[in-house]
Subunit: 508 residues, 2 copies
């Protein structure tokens, strides 16, 4: 290692770092310089005068921006250059923690959660056995129990696991439902079961469809349910479709009720759906990937009334609860199904003759073998905020969305996609540029309006001031979907978003 | 925030941190104190006088160790307590980066990889769209291309994705094989296909079996192939079983060849298996989760000869290449299959009317929706080490395993599970305590020997000096499986392991 003329800068190479002999000093130097890059980034992320992003097209980044070369080479770079690469990676990325980043369901940057993730990667271990993740395995167990208590299952009984995202959690729900009703599918395949039918809302997340394809049901055997104007499943439509399927000789097996749909933020009426599931002996899954967080709020948890009747629940703390990505739980009411469904008893991992209680080796419940430690950051945030802290965060986000709704519902140039205060933080609206305001409803207006949101979004990204999502839905042309899960957002940021949309879209 | 009498210690609470007003100072204080905990941990991890672990039984940790309380509560803890919790979490965990940790295929703590993971969690974004992960999406694309070039596919053509571990990567391979041969299964389910049969070695990873259950094939339709004494598939057995399946009217669809089995480290003869796959029109998957890293070594890559004939390859940089968990790639020779198999075209994410080239939105290839950024740490390590750095690491690990093999093959008290130099770093052996050395081979000796490895392992863990895995395999009683992927390990650590086994096991 040699000191370079630039202050604080050491020219050293990878091979100097730990575990190299005398690697301690260069390692600590490197990490401290590196942490300075990260803390500068964090500071700026929360500074509203910083852009949310510095947009470049793929070809621009691929061509190399001012020396930022993405290509990999045979020879090592100096650690000095590695630090520059890190700075550039952050520079050309998107600040998902910025108070004006509203683009996804997962936003914000919780500092304690972040610390949790840094520790997790420093511990660099694997959830499959107690042997190598004793503390994390217990934290997962306790946290899942707490979540089940909050769902309302007696004394938190049941089972569960953290999985790599809500889509995989939903996949688990279908797998274990099939195992419950047709355990022989595990050994004999789908040929051992009759034609099985699954039900989900037309507004539900596309992962249910992915799962029906992947697990061998086929997407045609996933029946989409009609919803009301707010995007909530109509229970009578479910019952009618169940009866129709039975008449055809199919076996209705699984119903997914969504607690917080992706676009409208709608909560399906769980109790009424549960009645039908009980009547026809079907598995009830509640996809609360987005809405599950509301269970933490005494004010809002009624929107999930009946969730305790579900057989399984998906709940992603990495969305509404602000936990860093990835953190998703699949919770199951009946104990033993996860294990029964997935266990293959690999002798090299799950030795029965270990010195400790091997029921703590949870790896055989998973479809994965190695499993990332997703629990620690969540556990640590819970310690730091307390249950009450999550409640405050959720209530605040819902207050902000009510503020946005009330601000724009009668504002000139804004049109709501559906009426009434949003159930979740999703506020869906069109912005109508001046040139379209006089046009009567019809194909021309629809076609032109369809292009407005993408245009405004593109300008937002080019200017880097804020980010919000848009999409069409059913017969509705492109509209904005505003969601708030970001703990950094305030009313001033909502005001900014509205004014920015007006500024960019007014003359379109 | 108030200064506490203890030096450097600030009593502050979660609500003081960013994004709180004036949160910058407490945030930086907190992070700096926190990073000091992590750097101390890192220093100690590489110090051989530190224990690998400080073992406690589940009930001990659950009862609370000296104030380390795992229970979650309603009220927040102070950040001071949070720092103590972090220290305790590390204290009671396992140092997977310790030079004497040999327990899993993933070991070691690469400092640049670690920095990469810290940056990843600070960026806290999601791989599904270019929109919110522009740099990471491009890094993934370039790195996958490089990996395909190394496999030997012309100009790196093909496709791929990083997935949450080798089991999921293997699951992808079966899904896309099925989609290639029977695309209608996506919509109509397994009923649309004839009875499909999969083949894999009896020594292969259990994830292939998990996948055959999950995807609706059934574990009975996964045919296990016989192996030679070194754990390598016997190609003639594959062909015989393919013919037998066809005679029964089944359709042989998929063959998994393992490059580096979990226990023996065996490499199946890919070229001979590829011949049979071509002859009978079957998909060839190479599970190189463990052995794929050897492709980086000019000296050892011949063990995967024929890999370029595979239709898909699993390759986990988080194993042999020392990348922090999780980092696993599924690579596919034919472009478009991943997309065709999994795409559901969710309108809210994959809008076709974005301002940039939306072919860079790769999320619809995945079975996940949100996808953790697994690429950056790997990309950064590649920058820092260069291709040559990975090669050196792999050659060094294989040299160390040859050293171990030569050290114990004729040593008193040691017995090899199979003869000949290991193909990978796996060295499999029994330790025979003095009391068993005179016993002739027979049931009594087998029964007693079966208990030796678990006993030694338990003592190792109690004393915390080192960790190595054991398991039975087929008709072989419990034996040690030594593996080396840890960049910190040296010959002295191998010597230590051998002597420690002798010390603990001599008088059993």
């Amino acid at each position: 290692m040699s000191k370079c003329p630039i202050k604080h800068c050491f020219l050293f190479i990878f091979a100097d770092l730990l575990p190299a002999k005398n690697g301690e000093e260069p390692t600590m130097q490197f990490l401290l310089e590196f942490v300075e890059i990260l803390t500068n980034y964090i500071r700026k992320t929360f500074d509203r005068s910083t852009k949310v992003l510095d947009f470049h097209h793929p070809h621009q980044l691929l061509e190399g921006m001012e020396g930022f070369n993405l290509e990999l080479s045979d020879q090592p770079e100096s650690l000095e250059q590695i630090l520059v690469d890190c700075r550039d990676t952050l520079k050309y990325g998107v600040r998902t923690g910025h108070p004006r980043f509203f683009n996804q369901l997962s936003t914000g940057l919780d500092i304690v959660g972040l610390a949790g993730e840094w520790l997790t990667s420093t511990a660099n271990t694997n959830m499959f056995t107690y042997e190598i993740a004793p503390v994390f395995v217990l934290m997962e167990q306790l946290t899942l129990k707490k979540m089940r208590e909050i769902i309302g299952w007696p004394v938190g009984e049941g089972d569960g696991i953290f999985s790599p995202g809500g889509a995989i959690s939903n996949m688990y729900s279908v797998m274990i439902a099939r195992y419950k009703f047709f355990p022989e599918v595990k050994t004999k395949g789908m040929a051992a079961a009759p034609r099985l039918v699954l039900f989900t809302s037309e507004h539900s997340h596309y992962s249910i469809k992915k799962t029906s394809a992947a697990l061998g049901f086929g997407t045609e055997n996933l029946i989409l349910l009609n919803t009301d104007e707010r995007g909530r499943v109509i229970p009578a439509d479910l019952e009618a479709k169940v009866i129709e399927a039975k008449q055809k000789g199919y076996v209705p097996m699984f119903v997914n009720a969504t607690a917080g749909t992706t676009v409208y933020g709608a909560f399906d009426p769980i109790n009424e759906i549960a009645d039908i599931c009980e009547k026809y002996n079907m598995w009830l899954h509640v996809d609360g990937a987005w809405g599950g967080g509301l269970l933490m709020s005494r004010k809002h948890r009624h929107k999930l009334n009946g969730v305790e009747r579900a057989n399984s629940v998906t709940w992603n703390p990495h969305k509404m609860m602000g936990v860093p990505l990835q953190c998703s739980a699949i919770l199951v009411r009946e104990r033993g199904l996860l294990q029964g469904c997935n266990s293959m008893c690999a002798g090299y991992l799950f030795q029965p003759d270990k010195q400790y209680d091997v029921t703590y080796d949870t790896g055989d419940k998973a479809i994965q073998c190695g499993r990332h430690v997703d629990i620690f950051k969540f556990w640590l945030m819970w310690k730091a905020k307390g249950t009450v802290g999550f409640e405050q965060h959720i209530d605040k986000c819902l207050d902000l969305s009510a503020y946005l709704y009330n601000k724009i519902k009668n504002r000139e140039g804004f049109e709501m996609v559906f009426n009434g205060e949003p159930q979740h933080t999703n506020v869906c609206f069109w912005y109508i540029p001046l040139s379209l305001r006089g046009l009567s409803d019809g194909e021309e207006r629809r076609e032109r309006l369809h292009k407005v949101a993408p245009k405004i979004k593109a300008m937002m990204m080019e200017s880097g001031t804020t980010m919000v999502g848009y999409q069409p839905q059913g017969d509705k042309v492109n509209f904005f979907r505003m969601v708030i899960s970001n703990p950094a957002a305030t009313r001033s940021d909502i005001d900014f978003l509205v004014e920015e949309i007006e500024r960019l879209g007014h003359d379109l």
